[in-house]
Symmetry: C2
Subunit: 188 residues, 2 copies
């Protein structure tokens, strides 16, 4: 049978680590959640060392994602793509920017790759905050793809704010943990 449906999920353990009912009141709490998701994904060997989450601007968690490339056999199943899709499913729209609704922000444990940066632009989020930097990912063997200074300017010119390297050493530590644990570097 030829596949006719692609399913994107997070591992079962994710639900026990997130709280949709409370507020993540500041950027540190939000970044920290993505790093926790990334670390747990490594420790439980359910995917690559990346986690992401979408919050609305009141700090309410709207969607989360963990890297599921190998588990889901889908090279597009990066944490950010999953988190954005979960958030859009939660609000019931292909965009997170809707009149009369709060703004949404994407947090990630690591700098988004070229695909995820493009996805961010189409998602309707107004802000992106990430922890580990491209250099940290590259040092661990992960390619980030064609992202340039002009790529960020492109998003900024369309009203998206970018904040880099928040809790960077904690985010980078998860990448190192993954390598130490012998995790596969897919798409080398």
């Amino acid at each position: 049978m030829r596949p006719t449906e692609i399913q994107i999920t997070n591992p079962d353990w994710v639900d026990s680590m997130v709280d949709y009912s409370s507020r993540y009141t500041d950027d540190e709490a939000r970044v920290r959640l993505t790093i926790q998701l990334a670390r747990e994904n490594v420790l439980r060997r359910t995917g690559g060392p990346f986690g992401a989450a979408v919050f609305d601007d009141t700090g309410r968690l709207v969607g989360v994602g963990t890297n599921g490339v190998v588990r889901l056999r889908n090279s597009s199943a990066h944490a950010e793509i999953v988190a954005l899709a979960m958030a859009q499913a939660a609000v019931g729209s292909f965009t997170l920017q809707n009149d009369g609704q709060p703004c949404h922000e994407l947090f990630s444990s690591c700098e988004p790759c070229a695909m995820c940066l493009g996805a961010t632009l189409w998602s309707g989020v107004t802000r992106v905050v990430f922890s580990a930097m491209r250099e940290d990912a590259t040092q661990s063997g992960f390619d980030e793809g064609p992202v340039f200074a002009d790529s960020y300017r492109y998003l900024e010119n369309r009203g998206i704010t970018i904040e880099r390297g928040r809790l960077r050493s904690e985010g980078a530590a998860v990448l190192k943990l993954y390598v130490e644990q012998g995790g596969p570097i897919y798409n080398p």
Copy 2:
């Protein structure tokens, strides 16, 4: 209930337009299929004016995709992302580049956006062929995102061949048809 699973599908009519058992023997036949998918997606009002397909290097169709952003409420559901995911599901791997297996090629009715170009790099395809050009998409109101000459060089340096503007006028005609029909320009 919070969504825990994202489903990516093509519209039902797609199956009647593709032939997994025969060979699409040349580039024109392969590009033409993606343009037909794009046009049908417009005429049936099931999505944006974009179609894509993955073939192996013997001309066997491996996966197809139509733009499903609005239908699936998912801003990442571009034709190329869907086609790559379907192809990976068909081969049962997160990469289309596997030892002892044929190479795979991505065809698209239009130049891939920044997200899809990144996705192409991670997918394992060795060649990308597209019809309508960025300028055609832009003229119809679609943003293609941060794609630069260096972006293409980045892929080419990693062994991916890019071929542009095949049957361009036919691909561009579908974009115009969509606008004439009053199709929504999401992510304007």
